[in-house]
């Protein structure tokens, strides 16, 4: 009997640890909120004011954690700034982890709704955003996503707005850049055809690049299950004579491509989109491998006009903000500007706020960290993009 007990103990221990690990994934960086808001008492209908409950959903753990952490920290900086102004509008931000998983994101959304969320920032990645956007549309909750760039996210939803470029937009911009600035490059593509973001950019890119007279010598695909080994795709690209690989993918598989390419002795330039941002921050990654890499992103921490935000971020979190942090920051300011413009008060319900903000969004302009932003009624953003090149471990305008 004694031996059985021991086995039971081990099994029970395993279960407890599992539970603990589950808890570790939850973000708890907001104090328990109450419904009373000091500023709200004095405000009357028509003038904006009060403490708004803003929810945030994004991956804080898992393979895409860099995106969610950056965006939530950027959003927090914006919230701190706005609250410190002491104006009529105050924000309370609550952050939830979705591990970049659609089902977890919907659960996170429901728990934020129980908390009394009035507007949503997020989700950060496309898959979860598609699921959560449908929920917000049905519940009439206003939402801005920092970085979910697929058209599926905003398609048919009047309440959902993007801070980032759409996928087709990124693909077209990349194709234009390549045919104008690097006309001599022999281009291969590697993309994740199990992922909406990657496929969306690839399709627009391939169409536009060929229309402009370019030729893709090799197209390789992979899925989430096979993103740890690219030796076959890299061999094929090398045999096809490619010296530039366009990879509209996330940074984790991109780090594998760079490492395995270097191990093979294959010399190529990697060209990525906004999902590539964050690669320099992967623990243990040899940034020398990323030297010369190109990426399409609307934000650089090195520009002087962004210095205030960069300093505040570095002081608070000890790292340099990337594009996702800037996107998160811009989300909060977009929301702030729209709330001001629409004259919303914190005692309004999420539905009323949503209906009030939708017509305003197409009229406002926000001078954010990622450029001068304005929106179409579809939820698409208009702003400038830049191509950066990695030099000495930092982004430099190419």
């Amino acid at each position: 009997m004694k031996k059985r007990n021991l086995a039971a103990l081990v099994t029970a221990g395993a279960m407890c640890l599992g539970l603990l690990a589950g808890c570790g994934g939850q973000a708890e960086n907001t104090p328990a909120g109450t419904n009373s808001d000091p500023a709200g008492e004095t405000s009357s209908a028509g003038t904006a004011g009060g403490t708004f409950k803003v929810g945030f959903i994004g991956p804080l753990t898992g393979p895409n954690a860099s995106y969610g952490n950056s965006a939530s920290q950027g959003a927090q900086i914006a919230v701190n700034e706005i609250n410190a102004l002491g104006g009529a509008i105050q924000f309370e931000l609550r952050v939830q982890d979705d591990v970049s998983d659609a089902e977890t994101a919907v659960n996170a959304y429901n728990s934020l709704m129980d908390w009394g969320m009035q507007a949503l920032v997020g989700p950060v990645t496309t898959g979860p955003a598609v699921s959560v956007a449908a929920e917000t549309y049905n519940d009439r909750v206003f939402a801005v996503t920092p970085s979910a760039s697929s058209l599926d996210v905003i398609d048919g939803k009047d309440n959902y707005f993007q801070i980032c470029f759409t996928d087709p937009n990124q693909g077209i911009s990349a194709a234009t850049y390549l045919s104008e600035s690097l006309p001599d490059a022999t281009v291969a593509v590697i993309y994740n055809n199990g992922d909406a973001y990657s496929t969306g950019i690839y399709e627009a890119f391939a169409q536009e690049y060929e229309r402009l007279g370019g030729q893709i010598v090799y197209t390789g695909t992979f899925t989430d299950d096979s993103q740890t080994d690219f030796s076959v795709q890299l061999t094929a690209a090398q045999n096809a004579g490619a010296d530039l690989i366009f990879a509209p993918i996330y940074y984790t598989p991109a780090s594998v491509i760079l490492t395995q390419g270097a191990a093979m002795g294959y010399d190529f330039t990697l060209f990525g989109c906004d999902g590539m941002d964050g690669i320099l921050g992967v623990e243990g990654f040899d940034t020398a491998l990323a030297e010369g890499m190109l990426l399409l992103t609307p934000f650089s921490a090195d520009l002087e006009e962004n210095a205030t935000f960069v300093d505040a971020y570095e002081t608070a979190y000890g790292s340099t903000p990337d594009q996702f942090a800037a996107d998160g920051y811009d989300c909060v300011y977009a929301l702030y500007t729209a709330l001001q413009e629409a004259g919303c008060t914190a005692d309004m319900s999420a539905e009323d706020i949503c209906e009030a903000l939708i017509p305003v969004m197409t009229q406002i302009e926000v001078d954010g960290m990622t450029g001068l932003l304005s929106w179409a009624a579809t939820g698409e953003v208009t702003k400038d993009f830049d191509v950066y090149v990695v030099e000495n471990g930092a982004y430099v305008v190419a």
């Binding site: 954690a65 080994d229 598989p253």
Partner: protein, 292 residues
């Protein structure tokens, strides 16, 4: 030429599967249990090596020794705490416990190292000069294949020539009779786990040198593939695990190159089903009729 290059990729990937499969097959052959936590011991090996090189700044070979020692101890402790009390229990109970241990290790790794992937810096950095025209053979590939062959030959010698190895084979054939002949069965099984886990540590370092993303689930998919390889080659057979692993790697690389990179995993498992339909005991497995 491209075909040869794919073949080389396949063989080196297959050699990693083979080293993992050797661990699976040893444990199955002697303890008659499927140790599903084997894949996670690989992951622990990778993390230990990562920590020794990145945080303690020790040279690569020291980190390999460290990983082997930690994993060996871990393997023996897992066997002693989780599997030994279930020696007389049904095989289903042991199987479920093994799955439990697998989750325990994954979640413990998540608590200790976090869920964010780390980039493992390859321990093998030398470049093999190009030969036969344009064939690229990286240092990692060469070391992996050599390590795999050496380990396979070493294990074959160990089980056929040494006293401990003979005890292992005796336990494998008839545990009761072996005990009657004065063999300490518990010690023999512990020894098997120690060897299997040491191999897992080496496999972990090689796997992460080949594919640098290190996260708590790193060992899961290679673990399942290696289990497939062990069954493919005939579970319980040491040359079988080697053959199964290498063939599996080649099939996977070829499927990815010529058929579809999305279907590569499915094709691997379809081949497994076909082999098992034709040879139920695997390629090199012995078919032992159940005596009633």
């Amino acid at each position: 030429m491209a075909f040869l290059q794919y073949l080389i990729s396949g063989i080196s990937l297959g050699s990693i599967y083979a080293i993992i499969a050797l661990g699976y097959t040893m444990v199955y052959g002697i303890a008659k249990m499927l140790n599903f936590a084997h894949g996670d011991v690989i992951m622990v090996g990778g993390y230990i090596s990562f920590c020794t090189t990145s945080y303690l700044d020790l040279p690569g070979w020291v980190s390999v020794v460290f990983a082997v020692v930690v994993c060996t101890v871990l393997g023996v402790v897992i066997e002693g705490l989780a599997y030994r009390p279930l020696r007389q229990a049904g095989s289903l109970a042991v199987l479920i416990t093994a799955i439990g241990v697998s989750y325990l290790l994954q979640n413990a790794a998540q608590l200790i190292w976090g869920a964010t992937p780390k980039n493992f810096t390859s321990l093998i950095n030398f470049q093999v000069p190009e030969f036969l025209g344009r064939l690229n053979v990286s240092g990692v590939m060469l070391v992996t294949v050599c390590a795999c062959v050496v380990i396979m030959l070493g294990l074959t010698w160990f089980t056929s020539q040494t006293k401990m190895g003979k005890a292992m084979r005796a336990c494998s054939e008839d545990r009761g009779a072996a005990q009657l002949m004065g063999i300490n069965v518990n010690r023999t099984i512990s020894m098997t786990f120690a060897i299997g886990s040491a191999l897992a540590a080496i496999a972990g370092v090689l796997l992460c040198s080949y594919s640098p993303v290190l996260q708590p689930t790193t060992g899961s998919m290679p673990g399942i593939k290696a289990f497939t390889a062990a069954v493919f080659g005939g579970i319980g057979s040491i040359p079988g695990a080697f053959l199964g692993g290498v063939l599996l790697g080649i099939i996977e690389a070829m499927a990815r190159a010529y058929l579809s990179s999305n279907l590569a995993n499915s094709i691997v498992f379809v081949v497994l089903i076909l082999v098992l339909l034709i040879r139920p005991a695997g390629l090199l497995g012995k078919y032992v009729p159940e005596k009633v």
